[in-house]
């Protein structure tokens, strides 16, 4: 590994260069100032750099102070008067003012996005709520449904069948679980079949529909299908 060759002059320039700024504003004193002065006497490059630094500093100092506008004094006096009045008034919340101000500065950039988020959430939620199915089913037959609305259901079915292979019956159930009317959506049936349906419904029991925990009338559709077992052989 090769190290770059640093001459003694370069090292001295580097050391002096670190102190040139302090030398330029005359804050360097004692031996440090003497060593820099001695180096500048030897090194023309550093001397020129030091001279330019001194001149740049002197040019900067010629800028002097920019005069404050006269209106500023008036504004500051108004602020001072208001703040002094608040301090003298002895308001107990005065000590919390810096904390409140910090909190406000911290929260202010969040206020608009926060409000926008809440509003858009409300709008979206109100648009989606009507589409939700909020009917609640009882977890067990012993449960009393308390929320919204539950459909009527079959409790026990009659132990005998009728002759049709497939039949759909739409029933109107009152609040006591009784059948008050029925309707055949697939079309009219023959008189013997209607009699068989009525006999069957007479021995079928129903659980009434529930609305907010109270029994109410409702409609239920029952589908009957003949099941049979084929035995071959």
């Amino acid at each position: 590994m090769e190290f770059p060759i640093v001459s003694r002059k370069t090292l001295a320039c580097w050391r002096a260069g670190r102190k040139l700024s302090a030398y330029a504003d005359r804050s360097l004193a004692g031996a440090a100032r003497e060593s820099v002065t001695a180096h500048l006497a030897e090194c023309g490059e550093c001397a020129a750099r030091a001279e330019k630094l001194v001149q740049a500093r002197e040019m900067l100092r010629t800028l002097g102070h920019v005069k404050a506008p006269r209106e500023l004094t008036t504004s500051l006096r108004i602020i001072a008067s208001r703040e002094r009045a608040r301090r003298v008034s002895g308001n107990p919340l005065f000590d919390f003012e810096p904390l409140w101000m910090r909190m406000r500065n911290w929260m202010q950039p969040l206020a608009l996005p926060f409000a926008g988020g809440i509003v858009s959430t409300l709008v979206l939620f109100s648009m989606l709520v009507p589409g939700y199915d909020v009917s609640v089913r009882a977890a067990s037959p012993a449960d009393v449904p308390t929320a919204f609305y539950t459909d009527p259901s079959v409790k026990t079915i009659a132990p005998f069948a009728f002759s049709s292979d497939e039949l759909v019956v739409e029933l109107a159930i009152d609040e006591q679980g009784r059948v008050v009317d029925y309707h055949l959506p697939n079309g009219p049936a023959s008189a013997p079949l209607r009699r068989a349906i009525e006999n069957s419904l007479l021995f079928t029991t129903f659980t009434p529909a529930m609305a907010f925990g109270q029994p109410t009338s409702g409609r239920v559709r029952l589908s009957f299908r003949r099941s049979h077992i084929e035995v071959r052989g």
């Binding site: 330029a24 630094l53 040019m59 102070h65 920019v66 404050a68 602020i79 703040e83």
Partner: protein, 217 residues
């Protein structure tokens, strides 16, 4: 402001000492508030003016600085001098405003060509002891130096302004900027080197205040 407290008597004659001034502010003394404004308004304005990208905002920032000083003087413990404490608030406020400016107003263009409100009547009146050429030359030199200073990195610029324009010691600058003494020295050196480089392109350094050749626009 009509009621005067016992602290007022300390500000009746001459400039009050800093601890007394801080006590007066805490006690709500009218004279302390007035003394603080008259003592620090000009240097704080000058400091903020040099640190902002848009000097036109200096008045607004100075008002914010004094508002913070008035409101937080109760938390001033006196571990540093009142002057360095106020300057620290000013530097931080200018820094915050510069960040805000960078985000929001960099691309805005003002309609005003020059802010005459900051000029005192003595500046407006003609000075017969100097020629018109001298006056124009001085104004142009000042504009060049101001632009060269404005082009220096803000962190280095703050250190240079505090040292060369506000005449603060290195230790005081370290307190204001809340950095180590070594960092202050480094920032001042780098700031002055940057200023020297910026000026070299516009003014001939090394042979007095002579002009460098500039192409005609």
């Amino acid at each position: 402001m009509t009621s005067r407290t016992s602290a007022d008597s300390r500000f009746d004659n001459g400039a009050p000492e800093e601890p007394a001034l801080a006590d007066g502010l805490r006690a709500g003394s009218e004279d302390a508030y007035e003394a603080l404004i008259s003592r620090y308004q000009q240097p704080v304005f000058n400091l903020v003016y040099r640190l902002l990208e848009d000097p036109g905002d200096a008045s607004d920032v100075v008002q914010e600085v004094f508002l913070k000083v008035f409101r937080n003087v109760g938390s001033f413990r006196g571990t540093s001098s009142l002057r360095t404490w106020i300057y620290r608030i000013a530097v931080n406020e200018a820094h915050n405003h510069r960040r805000w400016f960078t985000r929001h107003r960099r691309n805005q263009v003002g309609l005003e060509t020059e802010d005459d409100s900051a000029r005192h009547w003595q500046e407006v009146l003609s000075d017969h002891s100097r020629s018109a050429f001298d006056l124009v030359s001085d104004a142009e030199t000042r504009a060049i130096v101001e632009q060269a200073l404005a082009d220096v990195n803000p962190a280095f610029r703050a250190a240079v302004v505090l040292r060369d324009l506000e005449d603060m010691s290195y230790e005081e600058i370290a307190e204001v900027l809340q950095v180590s003494l070594g960092t202050v020295k480094s920032r001042i050196l780098r700031g002055r080197e940057a200023l020297r480089r910026n000026l070299e392109g516009r003014v001939a350094l090394g042979s007095g205040l002579e002009w460098a050749a500039q192409p005609a626009e």
